[in-house]
């Protein structure tokens, strides 16, 4: 099973990196961009677990380690490893 996890700041938390990148984009003339959220991407390969198990385990991992839920939210997708 492959889990692809995205972690981003929650709404209302200042995202200085996103802001800096947004400024740079504006300087380059991409004025249509109104907002940027920068975050983290993690890809996990898991062996010997069902989809349901993987879902529970990855949620646990996100809550415990990958995200700080005071400031960050997470979402992930699961797909079967090829």
């Amino acid at each position: 099973m492959i889990a692809k996890i995205h972690i981003t700041f929650k709404n209302g938390v200042l995202d200085p990196q996103g802001k800096a990148v947004h400024h740079a984009l504006k300087d380059l003339g991409y004025n249509e961009v109104s907002e940027i959220q920068m975050g983290k991407y993690l890809k996990l390969k898991m062996d010997g677990v069902s989809r349901e198990e993987a879902e529970n385990r990855v949620t646990e991992m996100c809550e415990k380690l990958f995200a700080n839920t005071v400031i960050e939210s997470y979402r992930f997708t699961l797909e079967t490893a090829k």
């Binding site: 938390v13 200042l14 990196q17 380690l65 700080n68 005071v70 400031i71």
Partner: protein
């Protein structure tokens, strides 16, 4: 009185803290290695020093909170004994849930290293009781992730419980944006937990507590701790 200074891989202010406690204040002080069998029962104060524990990977303090020593530090703190987290130590304390909120990247996106003024907001804590009569301290900061965040409910709780100990300010104690070096909510530089036995702060008192240097403002924090331990202010 016995103090312990925790050493994580990547701690780099551990020697400064150790030096101030042991050689300046002549307190029996020991190193505490982060792993293995950790027994904190002999200590009265545990210091989590500044640095880059575990390379600041994932988030500052995020890996340190799972170390063997932190499980014991949580137990130690919950038993009412004193824990001081400085800079990375503060980050470890919020990640482990001993203090509320979180520390994110500075709003300037830059590492900031300079001496700042902080206003003493509460002298009724075991970490600040010796600051009576001194409203502003000059203390160095050196961090990239010192931007304290807490949601508005959390901030109200901090204010209501008088948990905010230090705020970034001007030289006369002006708490305004101009003197906020990192974007912290409400200029917060240091807080205590509800029981006031755990404090985290971004400024480095250990860097201005040796009489070899002209600035000794950091001594007030160590003197407060020593006074509290000697007089049982906590109890």
């Amino acid at each position: 009185m016995k103090c312990g200074v925790v050493v994580f891989p990547g701690s780099n202010c551990d020697h400064d803290c150790f030096h101030i406690l042991k050689h300046v204040f002549k307190i029996d002080t020991e190193w505490i290695w982060h792993k293995g069998d950790v027994d904190l029962s002999r200590f009265d104060l545990v210091v989590l020093p500044g640095g880059y524990s575990y390379g600041d990977y994932l988030r500052a303090g995020a890996i340190a909170k799972f170390s063997s020593v932190m499980k014991e530090v949580v137990r130690f703190a919950n038993s009412g004994r004193m824990v001081l987290g400085i800079c990375n130590g503060f980050q470890v304390l919020v990640e482990s849930g001993l203090l509320p909120g979180a520390l994110i990247q500075n709003h300037t996106q830059k590492f900031v290293c300079k001496t700042v003024s902080i206003r003493v907001e509460n002298v009724s804590t075991p970490f600040s009781c010796e600051c009576v009569g001194k409203t502003v301290l000059d203390i160095p900061i050196a961090h990239h992730q010192g931007n304290y965040f807490i949601d508005s409910d959390g901030l109200h709780q901090l204010v209501d419980n008088q948990q905010i100990v230090f705020r970034y300010s001007g030289p006369e104690g002006e708490v305004i944006d101009q003197y906020n070096p990192n974007g912290s909510v409400d200029n917060i530089a240091g807080i205590v937990n509800e029981d006031k036995n755990v404090m985290g702060l971004m400024p480095h008192p250990e860097r201005c507590a040796d009489p070899a240097w002209p600035n000794l403002d950091g001594q007030l924090i160590f003197k407060s701790i020593i006074y509290s331990l000697q007089h049982g202010v906590l109890l």
